[in-house]
Symmetry: C2
Subunit: 236 residues, 2 copies
DNA sequence: GGGGTAGATTTCGGATCCAATCAGTGCCAC
DNA sequence: GTGGCACTGATTGGATCCGAAATCTACCCC
């Protein structure tokens, strides 16, 4: 284990996050690990030892095992018998394919969601977009960007579709972070104008435009991301 | 629990299937349940009690719990805290959306797989298609149809993509069975000619045609399926 | 000095026991 | 007669203990 900060030590933060959430222990453990992974505190390829997590959260290993299985369903961990769980590491090609999947699936999600988004939802989305533009922190940007996109699909309560889109976001979260951190900052105004176009189409309930703009938005992100070798740890 | 045949009784078949597979117990339990669900022995909405499965397979409840989580990741079961696992029941609209997802995702899978399928793979696919045309059993048709389609994607070893496509097939397996059983038989020659078109395009390595034919194939199936109320238990 | 193997340690997988929660039932009051 | 409540049986969730597999290490042989 590397000497990364905040690792191997049970901070008060950890326990607060854990205890703060109600419900079954396995669900709470899952929520804790989910946040750790999405926030980038656990990197792709990193192993997750059941005992360590259990000890840190004051639970036994069993709910940790259950939690890891739940996360597996969300694309956040992977499992190998007798070898344990890790955060999946995607190859450059795999990340690219996930983005291609997003190009096809998310416009569908938006299309299905579009007629069900009311004025209230539109206002919330506009607010999120305003906060993105006012924001200057990269980590916060990742959160808000996710909130914006998944928010535009929130009208459609089709479980299989939403679950899959969320899964795609989950599995590429780390690479998105690396991309934004490394040099995506210059691209932010492009992202914002594209968001504006999408939001406009959503408010107008123009399905064809919404679909087109969203597809283009994801496609351009994929291409830009593909040009950054460092995102995939290929800078050597 | 209904008086359905082969339910609640540990047949020799069950144990043979279970013991026959190697590997960890949870993996074997998962394989057993997976087959039960895909073969239609467990219907959507049906509850799966851990103890019953454990007893039937001669294992403890723990590997059953793990297996249920694995199946959850494959879209074959769903879980509610303190209420246990069930086979998911999809609404008409949900099934339709899953088919729309397939319309978008599977052509991508085929496109990614296309350049990697060699002559050997082509021969195997042609053989499967021949067996579909020679076949007269509806259950066998379901198996072979699945083998054909998933086989065309087998060249692409991108885990996220293949896993998702498989998941989509899993979650609609029951509705496909109901459809085929009820009246899809007349449509079989259509299915077969469409398969031939797809196979041809695959062999010619014509991505555009393959994608187009496949999308149309899934789309037509979705529309036909939508016309059968009984598939969704709406015949009252 | 390098590679391979055997032992020790670590970590995961499974069994059993106990606690928590839910559903169905019957009783009582209104 | 109906609605609500408490109780009981059934079922899942969690803890602890034990066994099995993999990894790491140290040692020996080449």
């Amino acid at each position: 284990m590397g000497p990364r900060a905040g690792h191997g030590v049970s901070t008060d933060d950890d326990l607060a996050t854990f205890a703060g959430t109600g419900g079954a222990a396995s669900v709470r453990v899952a929520a804790y690990l989910r946040e750790q992974i999405l926030r980038g505190h656990l990197a792709p390829g990193e192993r997750i030892r059941q005992e360590e997590v259990a000890e840190r959260l004051g639970a036994s290993r069993l709910p940790v095992r259950e939690a890891l299985r739940m996360l597996e369903a969300e694309g956040l961990t992977e499992h190998e018998p007798h070898k344990g769980a890790r955060v999946p590491r995607l190859s450059r090609h795999e990340v690219e394919v996930v983005y291609k999947m997003r190009e096809r699936l998310e416009p569908l999600a938006l299309l299905e969601s579009l007629p069900l988004l009311d004025d209230d939802a539109h206002a919330r989305l506009a607010d999120v977009q305003r906060r993105i533009e006012d924001n200057d922190d990269l980590d916060r940007f990742l959160e808000l960007d996710r909130e914006f996109h998944l928010g535009t699909y929130s009208g459609c309560h089709i479980d299989p579709l939403n679950a899959m889109v969320t899964r795609l976001w989950n599995s590429t979260q780390h690479y998105r972070r690396a991309f934004v951190t490394l040099g995506g900052r210059d691209r932010m105004w492009v992202v914002n104008s594209e968001h504006r176009l999408i939001l406009d189409a959503v408010v107008r309930r123009d399905g064809a435009d919404a679909e087109r703009f969203l597809r283009g938005h994801i496609r351009r992100t994929r291409i830009e991301l593909g040009h950054h070798p460092a995102v995939f740890g290929e800078e050597g």
